[in-house]
């Protein structure tokens, strides 16, 4: 146990490092900050809500930078896409925060927030899961026919629709190999930023599917590009929270000591798998986060009396991180075995790069 003087709480050091490490792996792999996992975990450890957000945001800024540098080395960042989106994202976040303030004045912010996050996350989970299963099957068929499916395959028809919008200026994103109207990129940034600002999260779990399914970027590029956005938004959030005094640097440093290793591992792990594997992990993380939000919703609706829910919340919050982390580690392990020509489960073959 460590006494965090600024936050005024005592929390276990191993669990903080564990959270940093696991969320680092997951964040580097699926291109999210992981705020929807870290903030509830910190609250579970006893940190007050505002401190949890501040610590989470500051640690995301540091971890995001490490993941971004790794993804840059791996060639997963499209700078044109990233920088075009920043303007839309910032405007969207501002609009989202204003709507949140409006709901706060009405006194219904808590319930609206939880219902919106459940609806958004569950819809994203459903679409990602269904599309990825289709892509997985198609990759399996291609592999069975002796055709190498390459690193990416997605079956959604939405990117073609959005890429055909003829509004000038048209942007050529060379790394992502996408030619699309800049207004589409700005609009994607605006909408995802709006949802992120309204829900009070970084928004990686909305932006990555949006970049894949609307703009048409490959999953690896979406992950790397989204991490650039996270560095900007996380850095700004960290500054704001630090000025407000919502950051306990000791907690941030402890989490970062785990996250710096985890983020590098998670980023490198993307080079072992094909796009659908990343989308699977993203969709699993979405459904688990949805479950957490449903539990909080039940807690609020039951007049904050269901004590057993707080115990279940601890299990789910820490359990989901461990599960996602181990799933990623096992994919890398299977990928290495597959490369060496050793036996791997049948479902793994279409998901890993051989």
């Amino acid at each position: 146990m460590f006494d965090f003087a600024i936050a005024g709480v005592t929390a276990p050091i191993p669990l903080l490092i564990f959270v940093g490490f696991t969320v680092g792996i997951v964040g580097g792999f699926i291109g999210v900050g992981g705020g929807y996992m870290v903030t509830p975990a910190l609250i579970v450890f006893g940190f007050p809500g505002y401190m949890a957000s501040g610590i989470d945001m500051t640690h995301i800024a540091g971890k995001g930078l490490v993941s971004t540098l790794r993804h840059r080395q791996l060639g997963n960042i499209d700078w044109t896409l990233a920088l075009s989106m920043v303007a839309g994202t910032m405007l969207g976040v501002e609009l989202g925060v204003r709507l949140l303030v409006y709901f706060k004045k009405l006194g219904i912010a808590g319930i609206v927030l939880l219902i919106t996050s459940v609806v958004v996350m569950f819809s994203l989970f459903l679409y990602t899961q269904l599309e990825t299963r289709r892509a997985h099957r198609k990759m399996k068929d291609l592999g069975a026919g002796g055709v190498d499916p390459g690193r990416e395959l997605q079956t959604s028809s939405l990117p073609r629709l959005f890429q055909s919008i003829p509004l000038r200026p048209i942007v050529r994103c060379r790394t992502a190999r996408v030619v699309v109207s800049m207004w589409v990129i700005v609009l994607v940034g605006l909408v995802t930023g709006f949802l992120a600002g309204f829900l009070g999260v970084g928004g990686g779990f909305i932006r990555v599917p949006a970049l894949v399914y609307l703009v048409g970027a490959s999953t690896h590029i979406a992950v790397g590009t989204d991490l650039v956005e996270i560095v900007f938004s996380g850095g700004y959030g960290a500054l704001r929270h630090s000025i407000e005094g919502h950051v306990d640097m000791m907690a941030v440093l402890l989490m970062l000591s785990g996250a710096l290793f985890g983020a590098q591992f998670g980023s490198i792990a993307t080079s072992y798998v094909r796009g659908p594997a990343i989308r699977y992990i993203l969709s699993y993380s979405l459904i688990l986060a949805t479950l957490g939000a449903v539990m909080r919703l039940i807690y609020v609706l039951s007049g904050q009396k269901a004590e057993v829910l707080s115990f279940l919340a601890v299990i789910l919050t820490l359990g989901e991180m461990a599960f996602l982390c181990m799933f990623i580690l096992s994919l890398v392990w299977f990928a290495r075995r597959h490369k060496r020509g050793e036996w791997v489960p049948d479902w793994v073959k279409p998901l890993v790069i051989s």
Binding site: V44, G319, F323, W347
Partner: protein, 53 residues
């Protein structure tokens, strides 16, 4: 047995030992179970440290 036949045997799962068959079909559930077990362990660790979750 050719490589393609080996693959088919794996896909059918008939000739595989039980461990490989379980890995083939239920890896997700094993990982989930292990993750949740670690979550329970962490919750017990917190209770041991603080007396409450």
């Amino acid at each position: 047995m050719t490589a393609a036949e080996k693959d088919m045997a794996v896909a059918g799962g008939k000739d595989l030992p039980i461990v490989k068959r379980l890995l083939n079909s239920m890896w997700f559930y094993w990982m989930f179970l292990l993750g949740i077990s670690l979550g329970i362990a962490a919750a017990i660790y917190l209770i041991w440290l603080r007396g409450t979750v």
